[in-house]
């Protein structure tokens, strides 16, 4: 299982690298789709069917929005000569990556070995969720019952985002 997920994650990394370095913006967006749909396969292998369904819908919608934006434009990432600011940002990125790498190595020591989750909440949910929520699907039981306020907050975020998009796209800009 770990090998299969490692291979797919490796493919996702290659897709991500191509998405970042592609000259044509349309190929970059499609390569971003590789990462998203690879994630769907990972979810299926990790026994998370709900997540796979949601992710496949969300990824398709995101891809449609991005393609619609890109097709309306010149589609090229304009090449300008590297300036001091560009070198500065590369140095910053490498420094940040080294620091994060160090801290992740420290944190990885306290992670469980893959496939041996020892989170305490899991047992409590697994034992009692069916009786207390009446839902056969434990994920929906957690989302809509134990963490109902969380879902309410999520709905608020969605409404705010829709209002924001309507406001941004409706107003006429200053010429």
């Amino acid at each position: 299982m770990e090998v299969a997920i490692s291979i797919i994650t490796g493919l996702m990394i290659i897709g991500a690298l191509y998405a970042i370095h592609a000259k044509d913006l349309l190929s970059a967006v499609i390569a971003c789709g590789i990462v998203g749909y690879g994630l769907v396969i990972c979810f299926l292998l990790l026994k998370a069917p709900d997540l796979a369904i949601v992710q496949i819908v969300v990824e398709t919608i995101t891809l449609i929005i991005m393609v619609a934006v890109v097709l309306d434009s010149s589609r090229e990432e304009r090449y300008l000569k590297p300036d001091p600011q560009g070198y500065m940002s590369i140095v910053t990125a490498v420094l940040l990556i080294v620091v994060l790498f160090y801290f992740f190595r420290l944190a990885a020591a306290s992670l469980d070995v893959f496939g041996n989750s020892t989170l305490r909440m899991a047992d409590a949910y697994l034992e009692r969720a069916t009786d207390r929520t009446g839902s056969a699907n434990l994920v929906t039981g957690v989302v809509f019952d134990f963490r109902g306020y969380d879902t309410l907050g999520e709905a608020t975020v969605l409404v705010t985002a829709v209002l924001g998009i309507l406001t941004i796209l409706r107003i006429k800009g200053k010429k």
């Binding site: 299982m1 770990e2 997920i5 490692s6 994650t9 990394i13 991500a16 690298l17 970042i20 967006v29 971003c32 990462v35 994630l39 990972c42 979810f43 990790l46 026994k47 998370a48 069917p49 997540l51 949601v54 992710q55 969300v58 995101t62 929005i65 991005m66 934006v69 434009s73 990432e77 304009r78 300008l80 560009g86 590369i90 990125a93 940040l96 990556i97 790498f101 990885a108 992670l111 893959f114 496939g115 041996n116 989750s117 989170l119 909440m121 949910y125 699907n137 434990l138 994920v139 957690v142 989302v143 963490r147 999520e154 969605l158 985002a161 829709v162 924001g164 998009i165 796209l169 800009g173």
Partner: protein
């Protein structure tokens, strides 16, 4: 253990893109790559070897299930990720209509 590292490398690829790229579409793509790696990490934490999807079948009670809590959290995060990406793209559409470019070096009015 190697899966966690690959997942972290995916995150770093997204971070590198956000910091070094000067194109708004590339920045949006890098942000969603970082999101995806976080979702993958959460689901990896909750996985149990030999577990089945957390859907209870009363007829067949003796099973190990994978942890439902990280999955519930990721379910929320995926939908919010869609909302933020859509909002980001709408801002990008406005900027493109006004300036005719995705390159943030040429959008002079944003400079402080």
């Amino acid at each position: 253990m190697i899966v966690y590292w690959l997942c972290f490398i995916l995150f770093l690829v997204g971070l590198y893109g956000v910091i070094t790229k000067r194109n708004l579409i590339k920045i949006a793509i890098s942000l969603s790559i970082m999101e995806f790696s976080t979702f993958l990490f959460f689901t990896l934490i909750g996985f149990r070897e030999g577990g089945v999807a957390p859907i209870v079948d009363p007829a067949d009670p003796v099973k190990t299930y994978v942890d439902p809590l990280p999955q519930a959290m990721v379910l929320t995060a995926i939908v919010i990720g869609l909302a933020t990406t859509a909002m980001l793209m709408s801002v990008i559409i406005r900027l493109y209509r006004k300036y005719g470019t995705f390159d943030i070096r040429e959008i002079k009015n944003l400079k402080g």
